[in-house]
Symmetry: C2
Subunit: 244 residues, 2 copies
Amino acid sequence: MQENQFQNVTTNNLPLPERVAEQISQLIITRNLKSGDKLPNEFELGSLLNVGRGSIREAVKILVARNILVIQRGKGTFIANNPGQVSDPLGFEFYKDQLKLAKDLLEVRMEIEPWVAQLAAERATDEDIANIKRICGEVEADILEKRDHLPNDNRFHIAIADCTHNDVVPKLIPVITYAVGLFGSLNGTKLLAATISGHRNIVDAIAAHDPAMARKTMAEHLEQNRKSIMEAVNTRTDKDESEK
Amino acid sequence: MQENQFQNVTTNNLPLPERVAEQISQLIITRNLKSGDKLPNEFELGSLLNVGRGSIREAVKILVARNILVIQRGKGTFIANNPGQVSDPLGFEFYKDQLKLAKDLLEVRMEIEPWVAQLAAERATDEDIANIKRICGEVEADILEKRDHLPNDNRFHIAIADCTHNDVVPKLIPVITYAVGLFGSLNGTKLLAATISGHRNIVDAIAAHDPAMARKTMAEHLEQNRKSIMEAVNTRTDKDESEK
């Protein structure tokens, strides 16, 4: 069963390096290669796939661009972490109307993340709970020591998604938490204090295995964010208008 | 405001072709180039970015691999349709346990798609409704004439997402409707008949601007799919067991 499930890919219309890239992807799957595993060398791949080393090299470049492979100079070519996942996979940075994008993303987050928190409260193990508590503490430390807390804030939301033990949800969260470039200064003292208490409420609800409370506290946290973003947007819009 | 919002990308640690690729992406955004627009030629890009044509060419290959650019032989290099969107952007094909992936994807779909149908019923214009009716008819024609209906079936679900007028939702739907390679034969007569009536019920609810009914009929449609997939999985699992 495992060997055949991906063979129905139709790649005949594609240029040769693309076809070879597809074949290398299939090889990674059928050989069950994992993140950090070494890819066979160019010579071996060339013999296996019956193409020249130039085509192998072009194919590898394509797979590097797609975060399926990583090259470590002098060491070889390896399977990437989270192969196939690129940053900004839906091309949000190319959206013309970044303000509408911000609003639409928030609408999606306010639907999905309370549900995720609810599932997290139902399914979190003791280890999961220890993990979100730890990351919650790291976000607080960032805020109190006036560092940029957004990287750890994102890790916090992904760690909650991990509590669901659904393999899709933790991949979806970074996509919808894409930070729109419009909002530079969401670091008001009021919002930062609200972030700390909002995160603590979510952690407490998940740790208490209280799904309804987890859903409610996550919704409140996002609503707080939404308000702050809309205030920032309105301030900017007023400023833009007055500059005309 | 528009010009500066993406300048804070830190790319200094990346290899030169990656940095040039990032700069070309920024150029596409700041020049407001749209799908189908022509990219400046290698010579012009080289002068603009102060790098050699070899680096430009490598950068263009990276951007082609990421579906940001497309090369039309003899014509030039153009901005792709839906720039930055790749197929399988979350790397689902590299998941080891495709059965768990199928179950997890369904869990996510059953949360998101009824909500999407509800929003669609609230917001659909007459034009939107005409569009989903047309595609619904195309799916039925495929089924009745025994063609593969899945491409139009996917278009149907995306067209419902378009009715929300949320720009994120129609991009998210193709990600979560990723077809796991495990299930070849979901084309039983019973399921196909259920697909036709399920789709019609959804269309009727959206056309009637009945959000509660749209949510309910979409949930029923997905539940029907879930049952069929689980039956197919169990049949396969039994078969695998008996082959051991």
